[in-house]
């Protein structure tokens, strides 16, 4: 059974409170939000395996701190979509603004359009799959998880990267400090195939390049001072 919430009519507090009250065994699995009109903080802090469809574009932090829920944005998403997500899935049909998936600890963020700058900044275990391009400084200080880009990456990809893995099919304008290209081994091809399948994207894993940390900045060395 599908339940519709009109955000303009019923308000943000009602929307989030109602969705947050759903628990694992709820009979109301499917929710549709209409008239989002770019509102901020839509469907944040959810913690149940429900399906939420947002019919339109969202403002800042849609799906913030998501757990378990699947949130589908049928439009574009503002800054910080799915920020600090721990599990579940957020899908953006259009483009995502800056810092998509910031600090995400888990779950999957799928962006079918492009993502702006700082996509996956400080990510800590989330998997992010972008069908289009990503902007500059993406995966800055990324700690864990996977960022998959079917298009191109902007400047300074993976600056000050820790252990996150970055897969890019198109061009990379430049790599940030301590980010290097690494070999695509069988385990990476296998992982990438799984990620692409999860995001329902059709691309040959072998056509991607992998980038990761050179681990030269893990311990302070005065001769690296220009990189700090």
């Amino acid at each position: 059974m599908m339940t519709t919430i009109d955000l303009t009519e019923q308000g943000l507090r009602y929307l989030n409170e109602t969705l947050q009250q759903q628990s694992a065994g709820t009979n109301q699995q499917d929710w549709t939000i209409i008239n989002p009109r770019g509102s901020h903080a839509i469907a944040v802090g959810l913690d149940a395996p429900i399906q939420v469809t947002v019919n339109g574009s969202t403002g800042y932090y849609c799906g913030g701190m998501n757990k378990q829920a699947t949130i589908m944005v049928k439009g574009s998403a503002g800054p910080g979509v799915a920020e600090n997500m721990t599990s579940g899935m957020v899908v953006v049909e259009g483009d995502a603004s800056q810092y998509a998936g910031a600090t995400g600890h888990g779950g999957t963020l799928v962006i079918r359009g492009n993502a702006a700058s700082r996509c996956g900044i400080s990510m800590k275990g989330i998997d992010i799959i972008v069908a289009g391009n990503i902007g500059h400084m993406s995966a800055f200080m990324a700690q864990k998880g996977n960022l998959v880009v079917l298009g191109d990456a902007g400047e300074a990809l993976g600056d000050s990267l820790y252990e996150a893995r970055l897969y890019v099919r198109g061009s990379v304008k430049s790599l940030g400090a301590d980010c290097i290209e690494k070999d695509m081994k069988d385990e990476h091809i296998k992982q990438l195939a799984e990620l692409l399948e999860r995001a329902d994207m059709d691309a040959d894993p072998a056509s991607f390049r992998r980038y990761g940390s050179a681990r030269q900045l893990y311990h302070f060395d005065v001769d690296n001072v220009s990189a700090y």
């Binding site: 600090n84 600890h105 400080s122 820790y162 252990e163 005065v222």
Partner: protein
Amino acid sequence: MTDQNHPQTEPKPESHVESRAKSQTEPVQSATFTKAVNAEIRRAADMGIYDIRGGGAKRSVPHFDDLLFLGASISRYPLEGYREKCATNVTLGTRFAKNPIKLDIPITIAGMSFGALSGAAKEGLGRGATAAGTSTTTGDGGMTEEERGHSDKLVYQYLPSRYGMNPDDLRRADAIEVVVGQGAKPGGGGMLLGQKISDRVADMRDLPAGIDQRSACRHPDWTGPDDLEIKILELREITGWEKPIYIKVGGARPYFDTALAVKAGADVVVLDGMQGGTAATQDVFIEHVGIPTLACIRPAVKALQELGMHRKVQLVVSGGIRNGADVAKALALGADAVSIGTAALIAMGDNDPKWEDDYQKLGTTAGAYDDWHEGRDPAGITTQDPELAARLDPLLAGKRLANYLKVMTLEAQTIARACGKSHVHNLEPEDLCALTIEAAAMARVPLAGTDWIPGKGI
């Protein structure tokens, strides 16, 4: 030639030295190139890395010691000590939060991370704060069971690094503190060196064990006060508008930062002056960035008053609070509460002379030990080494902290009663005078024995 004006006998070597010494100037050490300065130059030349240390500013700056209370006189009635009530309770988060934090005393425990501190030390802080009727605060490293379990009221810090940040901990916190900066290093991020990144710490932070960890100095998903307002909306929506949201800033531009924090929707502003401690950062940062705590309070209070928000958005002041007099002075200048970090660690046993032999082995001495980042703390507080950490008994540490908090509260009450106040919040700038022109200018109270406040005309 040498013989003509001298006795025939050779002068004795001793008397020769003596006469030379008499004609020499006293060796003078430079006030600019002091022994400590020269030692630091040599250390930098040896090591090729800036000095990293814990704690706050060690230099002498105008502070609460430069203020005095006037006390009651013919025009003011004092209250009887022990007989007439002088309340100390404070409620934080009355602006928007459904569940404001009610504290028995106006002294809270500042944010200190698990990682910087041992699990037992965090437990001790929780136990002490709870026994004294106040709150404690997490730090840059997530919430541990030790502190949640032993803290009746726990403030969960929301930091640029977002280490261990998760919605479950957010929901089981009693308040949320968005950390924009801290007094030891306004504009700087956290730092935790490899020695302290144990497996448990690394796991909580999603980092490889043993690396030199430099946390971000800016939040990853907001920039400026307009974004911050939306971020706070999101945090409130996630937590059902129940929890007070604090914004912590380092003492830099307190007037503007306070006004902007109010604009962004804060329930509470936490303002940390340059004497506020840190677990680790560059010495040059600690000593040369930020302004003294004394200089922070009046501009912040002015901003609150101009916005009609004084006492509605609570102001918590920290950085160098040591005793009940400091508490009373901060409150008299307009703060609603104070927060302690370094002092709480000292109460639990940090830098205790009983470990002097161990401090000597580390090339330092009790009171001066500040290499908290190295994880070799003889007192077992700023360490992740299980053997050292075992030196701290969390029950005893908690008891000591509770004792200390109660003494500070009694001291603040003593002063408030002497000024005729039935609540410590009734203390006001009019109760104060300053011992120095600098303190008078910063605290905007008259120089003792005069009616002169520098900057306020005659």
